[in-house]
Symmetry: C2
Subunit: 244 residues, 2 copies
């Protein structure tokens, strides 16, 4: 089957969510990196928990609530200005260095984002990074009122791009997302970003693994969910060869 569309996860796949660390470090010196790690863990948890509880709120609400949690558990104080400055960075995340070139090389395919982000968040992100000019669609799960990896979320690709699941290559660095997309029936490329943290985790004893290493490493390893993505790549730059 020919691949007609390449559809990308946004957070952690095209956009580097760790790029908020500069802003969080500026707001809370000494805590920048750990805030981004706890924030991400809780952002994901809340998206799954609210989906299961049937208490959906859009991703901007969840992102705010998980940031509030993070600041609270670290015992930090904040004012509204600082909070909004951090939140604003989520609309201006850095692209991964190879994102723009990979998308350009795939320009004969339909290109889109399918993300848990709200429409407002995603449209701002695409505009601020210039990806709005190369993407045919920026699809938010919001219209389904449930988050990935629920199957309903992935149905939006066919609805919006008029391609069947077997004509789609879905690309995500998030193991749970890659598994969810594969379980749904898409072709899936999982990006295993081999970070220094992932390497370190396997080499050192637990009493010397720094907490940030631990948190970061846990997001880079394929999960045990009984599902294997079709492709395992290490960078977006490998995509053009994969579906040429």
């Amino acid at each position: 089957m020919t691949i007609k569309a390449a559809v990308f996860d946004a957070y952690g796949t095209l956009y580097d969510i760790q790029s908020v660390a500069a802003v969080t470090e500026d707001a809370f010196p000494g805590y920048g990196d750990i805030i981004t790690q706890i924030w991400r863990v809780k952002q994901l948890e809340y998206s799954w928990l609210r989906s299961l509880m049937r208490r959906y709120e859009d991703f901007s609400v969840i992102t705010r609530e998980s940031l509030a949690y993070t600041i609270r558990v670290l015992g930090l104080q904040h004012d509204a200005t600082v909070f909004e400055r951090i939140m604003d960075k989520y609309l201006h995340l850095d692209l991964y260095p190879d994102a723009r070139a990979a998308l350009a090389a795939l320009k004969d395919k339909k290109l889109a984002i399918l993300s848990n982000g709200s429409s407002d968040m995603l449209n701002a992100l695409a505009k601020n990074s210039g990806l709005d000019r190369v993407l045919e669609a920026v699809i938010s799960v919001d219209s389904k009122k449930i988050f990935k990896p629920a199957p309903d979320a992935y149905t939006l690709i066919e609805a919006r791009l008029s391609v069947t699941p077997d004509e789609v290559l879905f690309v995500s660095s998030n193991p749970w997302d890659a598994c969810g997309a594969k379980a749904f029936g898409l072709n899936v490329a999982w990006i295993e970003r081999v970070t220094p943290e992932a390497m370190a985790l396997a080499c050192v004893k637990s009493d010397v693994v720094p907490p940030l290493t631990m948190f970061k490493a846990l997001r880079t390893q394929m999960d045990e969910l009984g599902i294997t993505p079709d492709h395992r790549i290490h960078a977006l730059s490998e995509l053009p060869n994969l579906i040429a």
Copy 2:
């Protein structure tokens, strides 16, 4: 409304899941504690992810898969005997010290467990700890093929105990479970166990927070899910006064 039944979460509420650490430390010296922490994080994630993906497998499968993940990401080697010895400890978890007395003091109420555990796991746990003699029911979510905090899971209380949600006090130390039960409509007591880790997290800078402190602390703090349990207590021993 009079409380007619007290229904308890099992893992982390009546039973101390950290009590597996002695076995994991024996199997993997230096890693005992960190294994229990990663294992628990992934066990929870997989229960939510499989529920959302509609790829339910019972909790014994999820517990095995999350242990396999943990051993893999830490770069450890294991044989089948070691793996089974660790898994077996999950059927022989220690009760929290105040569990037995609290249940005894509530003996005029219907007493039950509602847990994500499989029936086999829970029945073994209740028998091995002697709680089978004081509990009217040990209820597994397994018959619903979805895990807490999905509303369907909590419907089993009324079905099994013939009490309406407002006649139930549900007790859990897991913030997501307390929120799920409250969202469903039960009366909820959340047990905030004030651990040394939780205290430490709020007092020290990120560069000196040990990884285990971080992991443990994140499980003891109330989540930001837009829901507040009815009661916040610090030990099971507070329950009799709560519903006297």
